[in-house]
């Protein structure tokens, strides 16, 4: 009896103490699991770019963008690679965060079954299409697409589903298509259970996707560190664009995907570090769509969203 009690206490203690508490002066950066849009972060980490600048980072994985911004608001992380949609929703709700850099444009796509009879967007009417979650950039893209084609969202059975369940759903015929981020789009083709119906770049050319958000506290208290990190981000982004082969090799190991598929995945993502005028304008357009859909309450101005003073 006594030994059992001791064992219990030991197990509890292990749970309490193995909780990773970051040492001071660590920058905690959040990112989405299995989302290659944050490849720049992976490259920077793999190539020791943070260490070279004397910065200790702790990378934390999340499943949904909303979790990243909430964690930031709660002070659990300092920065995050996250979709622009959750970022603007957070700012709309008054969370003390800002977009400090761009991460990528495009990089999503609609997947259908290999033998699917769907040829145009209108063919989706009366069929089932799933997306990762309401409020995501994929949600916005879908609405953008349907608006362009003058199709009422009501005519399609649009549902939400975790990304991990999507392949199975498609293969078993439960859904007729899904919209998702890379690498899931390319993987469907390379693994043979799907084919790409449309890349998000075809839906909306150069549309903003992910951005870097930082907490106001972090920006105010560690402006130099932030600047250094954004410089690293720029370097890593450039590296992916100019040293594609090496980047492919590193990332394919990182994401555990074969080299050819990885190369294909990267070809559908446009990595940018500095949001240009076009990026900003398109981002504001996204906000207006969010307003239409009721995800956002105010018409956010560019200054409410962006603080680009820390970019190199």
């Amino acid at each position: 009896m006594f030994t059992a009690l001791c064992l219990l206490v030991l197990i509890m203690g292990y749970g309490v103490y193995s909780h990773d508490s970051a040492p001071k002066d660590t920058v905690r950066i959040g990112y989405l699991a299995n989302d290659q849009h944050s490849a720049a972060l992976a490259i920077a980490n793999a190539k020791g770019m943070f260490e070279s600048e004397g910065i200790t980072v702790e990378l934390q994985q999340f499943n949904v963008g909303a979790d990243i911004v909430i964690a930031m608001a709660a002070g659990q992380i300092d920065m995050g690679y996250v979709g622009t949609a959750p970022a603007t929703m957070a700012i709309d709700k008054g969370m003390p965060v800002k977009v400090v850099a761009a991460v990528n444009e495009e990089g999503s796509g609609i997947v259908i079954a290999p033998n699917s009879t769907i040829n145009n967007v209108t063919d989706f009417e009366g069929h089932t299409l799933v997306m990762p979650s309401r409020g995501s950039i994929q949600d916005i893209l879908l609405h953008y697409l349907l608006q362009q084609k003058n199709i009422s969202p009501q005519s399609i059975d649009i549902r939400e589903m975790q990304t991990s369940l999507m392949p199975e759903a498609l293969q078993s015929g439960r859904v007729d298509g899904y919209i998702v981020w890379e690498p899931y789009v390319t993987q469907a083709s390379s693994d043979g259970y799907g084919k790409t119906f449309m890349y998000s770049g075809e839906i909306w050319k150069n549309h903003p996707c992910c951005v870097i958000v930082a907490g106001n506290d972090f920006m105010q208290n560690h402006p130099d560190t932030l600047k250094k990190i954004l410089k690293i981000h720029q370097n890593a982004t450039d590296y992916i664009n100019s040293n594609r082969d090496d980047a492919v090799s590193i990332l394919s190991k990182q994401y555990k995907i074969d080299v050819n598929t990885e190369r294909e995945v990267l070809s559908h993502i446009k990595f940018v570090a500095v949001p240009d005028e076009d990026f900003i304008n398109k981002d504001l357009k996204i906000v207006s769509i969010q307003r239409q859909l009721g995800y956002v309450g105010h018409n956010l101005t560019r200054n409410e969203i962006f603080d680009l003073r820390y970019l190199p």
Partner: protein
Amino acid sequence: MRKTLTAIIIPVLIIIGWSLLTSFNIIPEYILPSPSEVLNSFLGFLGTNELLIDTLATLSRVITGLIIAAAIAIPLGIIIGWSKKAEGLSNLTIQVLRPIPPLAWIPFAMLWFGLGFESAVFIIFIGTFFPVLINTIDGVKRINKVFVESAYTLGASQSQILTNVVMPASLPSIFTGLRVGIGIGLMCTVAAEMIAVKSGLGYLIMESMNLIDTGGVIVGMLIIGIIGFLMDYSFRKAEKKYVLWSGN
């Protein structure tokens, strides 16, 4: 009257504490919305009929799941509680399956039942099945031998004993199992409604989370809590009526 007053003391204190915490910005609104924020979200939902639809959707899934679970678990539990052979055959399997969280069954749910209602019911079924089963087995095992032996000497066959003695004698435990089961069923709503449903309280909570609408999350939580309370209350009333004798 007195009972009601004592019962609401703590909830009232919580609401007061909650208002204080949020009004002086001790906890920012986007982490914990103030009671008035939540009220606003609630009124917003009311306007669109959404709450009613979601509540009915969740209720129908939970109740269906519970009924199917009970329909299988009660007879199965009676057999396992009654027959040592049946127990020996099934015990290992039950004990291994039981701790698996209903969430883990989601991929299978989708594979076997597709999207929507059937999948959700399946997840709820998994959650409610084991409490009902285990309590039924327990109830059968705890039956006073004298009832069974009397029944034999009164000319009852084994199957007659199962329906006329074992079943009513284990009813109190079965009721407990159902009460626990439905509580767990409600807890599974969020997991159950992850498989591409379009309505439901769990769905409401998840959506609110995705849209960073903490007020909506709390509305969903509160409603689930109230439903749980009402169901528990009704069960206890039914118990009192049908198993009045068990208190003696």
